[in-house]
């Protein structure tokens, strides 16, 4: 399978990427690791006329300790997030989740920024970012802005990023010592989650769900119940409240609701045991 033809430009700097994006118009697309975009292009579900390769923007591949938060460059590959010691110490959920994405080959190429910008409700890292209360920095022609993860995922594969913006940083509050859990339910090792849960319980409580709607979502009813003093079992029973999970080859919506309740309960139990 071979993608439709396109022009290819390699950006040497962020500024160059921004001006190529501005010139390229609607049909231009950024490519980071290519591990969401290339499979779509091979199936001809996407056919951009121009690819702007930001894969070499080494300045955007880093993990930095920012005091009460950790900043992760958008071009940081899943493997580098997985093994980073600062993240393991202060945001272990994020490092762990990066290590659960796909398989080692995927983790050697895919980037955290690509995973977030793609906005797939089946992805692991967006859910982790939601649970952790992360925010995203985007740079565009009119400067930079920071978008809260809760305001970022707007619809199926649709995010708050403008077509002329580049996601540059993922800013994650430290959750040192907090309880956490990641539950990924799938049938085969390398598969995407049929349903997944990311949970943090400490100073901040955040519970989010994978594949339970058109976007990565927070389990708000569960979060509210916990804030009101409900037990893990009571709170978990409300995991799917207000959500409309998809139906596909793997699961019916009813089965997904059941999975969400069971997995949220497990996640809350594991996060409280920490």
């Amino acid at each position: 399978m071979i993608p439709a033809g396109f022009d290819y430009r390699r950006a040497a700097t962020l500024d160059e990427a921004l001006s190529l994006l501005a010139d390229g118009g609607d049909e231009a697309k950024l490519i980071a690791g290519g591990h969401s975009l290339l499979p779509l292009m091979k199936l001809r579900l996407a056919a951009p006329s121009m690819l702007i390769d930001i894969g070499r923007l080494g300045d955007l591949s880093f993990v930095r300790d920012g005091g009460d938060h950790v900043v992760v460059g958008a071009l940081t590959r899943h493997r580098d997030v997985e093994i980073d010691q600062t993240l393991r110490d202060h945001v272990p959920l994020l490092a762990h989740v990066a290590g659960q994405v796909g398989d080692p080959q995927v983790r050697h190429r895919g980037t955290i920024g690509g995973s977030i910008a793609h906005g797939d409700p089946a992805s692991d890292l967006p859910a982790a970012c939601l649970a952790l209360g992360a925010s995203f920095k985007a740079v565009g022609p009119s400067g930079e802005r920071t978008i809260d993860a809760s305001d970022f995922f707007l619809g199926f594969l649709e995010t708050a990023l403008g077509p002329d913006e580049v996601l540059t940083e993922i800013i994650v509050p430290k959750a040192t010592g907090a309880g956490w859990s990641f539950q990924k339910f799938n049938r085969r090792a390398q598969d995407w989650a049929i349903v997944g849960v990311a949970a943090v319980r400490g100073e901040r409580t955040g519970i989010s769900l994978i594949n339970m709607g058109p976007t990565p979502v927070r389990a708000s009813a569960t979060e509210d119940a916990l804030a009101g003093g409900a037990s893990a079992a009571e709170a978990a029973a409300r995991a799917a409240e207000g959500l409309e999970p998809p139906s596909d080859l793997n699961a019916t919506p009813e089965y997904r609701v059941h999975l969400a309740q069971v997995l949220v309960r497990r996640a809350l139990e594991e996060a409280s045991a920490a």
């Binding site: 033809g5 499979p39 080692p104 080959q105």
Partner: protein, 157 residues
């Protein structure tokens, strides 16, 4: 668009269409057909090669993205005297192949795995090879081979 890479230590430079996938570049342009295409949809790992020492599914990378990289394929593992790489030796020793279709990708993924985890447990080997499928389901002996190669401690790419 021009692509310059080294493949198994040999510099290569070719003009390619940007949409050329790395696996087709390796097989059809460079002419090394040891790297197989199984699924062509990023699932099976048959096309695994090393890019700058790390395992990558070459059906899911553009040749132009690899510009400047060092690529190692299954043909690049054995010594110039024909001496097999310790991982290849371990696969032979432990009978880790049946039809052999998945083998080049398995071996490359295993070499990358041992670079990151020189002394893996059996569970770590199984997880580390999750991106590679064997239709003959010879997983048991493949895992044995990787553990054997790790125990001899002589694997480096």
């Amino acid at each position: 668009m021009k692509v310059s890479v080294t493949v198994n230590g040999v510099p290569q430079e070719h003009e390619v269409e940007p949409r050329t996938l790395l696996v087709y570049y390796i097989r059809e342009v460079v002419g090394l057909t040891g790297t197989n295409i199984g699924c062509d949809t990023s699932s099976c790992g048959a096309c695994t090669v090393l890019v700058d020492g790390e395992s990558v599914k070459s059906c899911t990378m553009l040749a132009v993205q690899a510009d400047g990289a060092e690529i190692t394929t299954i043909e690049g593992l054995a010594g110039s005297d024909g001496q097999m790489h310790p991982m290849q030796e371990a696969f032979r020793e432990k009978h880790a192949l049946q039809c052999g279709y998945c083998t080049p990708g398995m071996v490359m993924a295993a070499v990358s795995l041992l670079k990151e985890h020189p002394h893996p447990t059996e569970a770590e080997v199984r997880e580390g090879l999750e991106g590679n499928l064997c239709r003959c389901t010879g997983y048991h002996n493949i895992v044995e081979a990787v553990l054997h190669a790790a125990s001899t401690g002589s694997v480096s790419a």
